[in-house]
């Protein structure tokens, strides 16, 4: 149904994977430190003074500087580096799982690009040598872009995006280094960091946080299998004012086919707005409350084969970037359930009465769950399939937030809290739980024990 023409649907709307080469797909016994020393030696042999050579980090850019300072042709010095890189490829090896991962992406109809700081010669040689060139729809080495557009400059990523005419939020950069993550962030794409491929890494210092991180290519494959089966459940009761905007922001990263709006007996235009956005709409004929709506959305997502289920409020108080962050530990397999905590993040905007009410409810929840979660009433949560199938939702109304925490804790799911920012518009502040709701939640939880 999309222009890609692929028959399989994935839920995180990833249409393009941009790979780094060295340290991500392939490794080599000789690391870049050794290459640098070799290069230094050859430059010294040419009679270039030590002071002019400097520490050579980063190598490629420094060669241009040295050429200028010594009145040499840059190509002359580049050739030395290119030769060294090409020699290094001879000993290179493909990381376990690289081929399977590329194969999987191809099958899913995802475009694949290579973005590397290697020269074209070395990169092409490596791809041919390991028989993976056929997987790539586009290759952009440092030789193919202007000197100042090589990553970590974001233009390197942007050039790839331009080639495919794919918006940045639908692309993911996969690399092992800050040089991959920094341009990805600046260009606005998703990013995946491979953390334990030791060979081939230049220097390991990363300040930018990637969207996802996994130790090796093998785990990257299982991460993708989960990502591509992510569903977002949006319970909505009379949310015509905010729903349209919320859905457009979700659609930046998620496929409309995998967004499920549960229209909980709304009497306004909620249903029409959701339908127009092309998402799934489940309509409750009568209003059943937040718990009823969440239960419906989760049941539907499970039925559709969801591996990850995110719940997201329709009143506009959550940011889609936070949804990705809450999803991170679950997608990476480090947690079974994650909840976005407004109290761990920025709470400046949270009205006092809400903060107080939350504290009381957190206490009550902690009592029943025998575990303290700093924001038990948060509407931004993420389950993996196993955890979502285990829990039993019985509370129809707002008590469901506490009930979910209690259920998840008692079923032995691994819980993680992720700091998020709550956006309190006047509109959102009027909705949600208030003090009276709080009392009702407490009573409901008590009765629940007696059922």
């Amino acid at each position: 149904m999309k222009s890609r023409g692929a028959t399989k649907v994935e839920s995180m709307d990833i249409r393009l994977a941009i790979f780094d080469l060295d340290g991500t797909l392939i490794g080599a016994p000789k690391d870049f430190h050794q290459i640098k020393e070799e290069l230094r030696k050859r430059l010294l042999d040419m009679g270039i003074p030590k002071e002019t050579i400097g520490d050579l980090t980063p190598m490629y850019e420094n060669l241009f500087r040295i050429a200028e300072e010594t009145n040499r042709k840059p190509e002359e010095l580049q050739k030395i580096l290119e030769d060294l890189e090409e020699e290094r490829v001879d000993e290179s090896f493909l990381f376990d799982g690289s081929r399977e991962f590329l194969e999987f992406l191809k099958e899913e109809g995802i475009k694949i690009a290579l973005m590397t700081r290697s020269c074209r010669r070395a990169a092409t040689k490596a791809l041919n040598m390991h028989g993976i060139k056929k997987y790539f729809d586009f290759i952009l080495t440092r030789s193919d872009v202007a000197k100042d557009e090589v990553k970590p400059n974001e233009m390197h990523v942007k050039r790839v995006l331009e080639h495919f005419k794919i918006p940045p939020t639908k692309a993911i950069v996969i690399g092992d280094h800050g040089y991959d993550i920094v341009p990805a962030k600046r260009a606005g794409t998703l990013s995946l960091l491979i953390t334990s491929h030791e060979s081939g890494r230049m220097s390991f210092k990363i300040e930018e946080k990637p969207t996802f991180e996994v130790p090796t290519m093998k785990e990257a494959l299982s991460l993708f299998r989960r990502l591509l089966k992510t569903y977002v459940v949006v319970p909505a009761y009379n949310e015509e004012r905010t729903l349209g905007e919320v859905l457009s922001s979700l659609k930046l990263y998620f496929k409309p086919e995998h967004i499920v709006v549960v229209n909980d007996g709304s009497v306004d235009r909620t249903r029409e707005i959701a339908r127009k956005s092309g998402v799934h709409v489940l309509t409750h004929i009568v209003n059943r409350g937040l718990g009823g709506a969440l239960g419906t959305g989760i049941a539907y997502a499970l039925k559709k084969g969801a591996e990850i289920i995110i719940t997201f409020d329709a009143d506009g108080q959550h940011l889609v970037g936070d949804a990705l962050r809450v999803m991170k530990p679950v997608a990476e397999g480090k947690a079974d359930f994650a909840v976005g905590s407004r109290l761990k993040g920025d709470i400046k905007e949270m009205p006092f009465i809400k903060r107080f009410g939350n504290l009381v409810l957190d206490g009550i929840t902690a009592f029943f769950a025998r575990m303290y979660v700093s924001d038990s009433q948060s509407g931004l949560r993420c389950f993996n399939r196993e955890c979502a199938s285990k829990i039993r939702i019985t509370c129809d109304r707002y008590a469901v937030s506490s009930e979910i925490i209690i259920e998840v804790a008692s079923r032995g799911c691994r819980i993680e809290e992720v700091p998020i920012k709550a956006v309190y518009t006047d509109y959102a502040a009027k909705k949600g739980t208030n003090v009276l709701e709080g009392v009702k939640i407490a009573l409901n939880l008590l009765f629940d024990k007696m059922r």
């Binding site: 489940l282 309509t283 409750h284 059943r288 009823g292 049941a299 009765f447 059922r451």
Partner: protein, 121 residues
């Protein structure tokens, strides 16, 4: 016999007939029929011999006056009933949610199928 006893007995008999009628019309199953009739029977006995019974309960529980004892017991009984009603309402609510959920999911699935057919056509 006091006037209130006559009134109570008439009301109880009417209720008993009403329950039988419901059972005959199959609106009550035999379990509901039996429990309601037993309850009415107990109330009937109380209505016939209120004083004697209240004295017996008073002696059993050691409460002050006979009639007070009867009140205490009936208030307790009323609470039990209230709880039962709460449980029933709760069950009904859950069933409504379950029903609403089923309808919502199935309607959407039908919708999807229709869309597929439309696309093919």
């Amino acid at each position: 016999m006091l006037a209130i006893q006559y009134v109570t007995i008439i009301v109880l008999v009417a209720l008993a007939l009403y329950v039988i009628g419901k059972y005959v019309r199959k609106e009550f199953d035999w379990r509901e029929f039996l429990s309601w009739e037993t309850l009415l029977l107990i109330m009937f006995v109380i209505a016939l011999k209120p004083l004697e019974l209240s004295v017996t309960i008073k002696n059993l529980l050691g409460l002050g006056r006979g009639l007070d004892a009867l009140f205490v017991v009936s208030i307790g009984f009323a609470y039990l009933l209230l709880f039962r009603i709460y449980m029933n309402v709760d069950r009904a609510e859950r069933e409504i949610t379950e029903l609403t959920r089923k309808i919502a999911i199935e309607l959407e699935e039908i919708n999807e199928k229709l869309e597929k057919i439309e696309k093919k056509g």
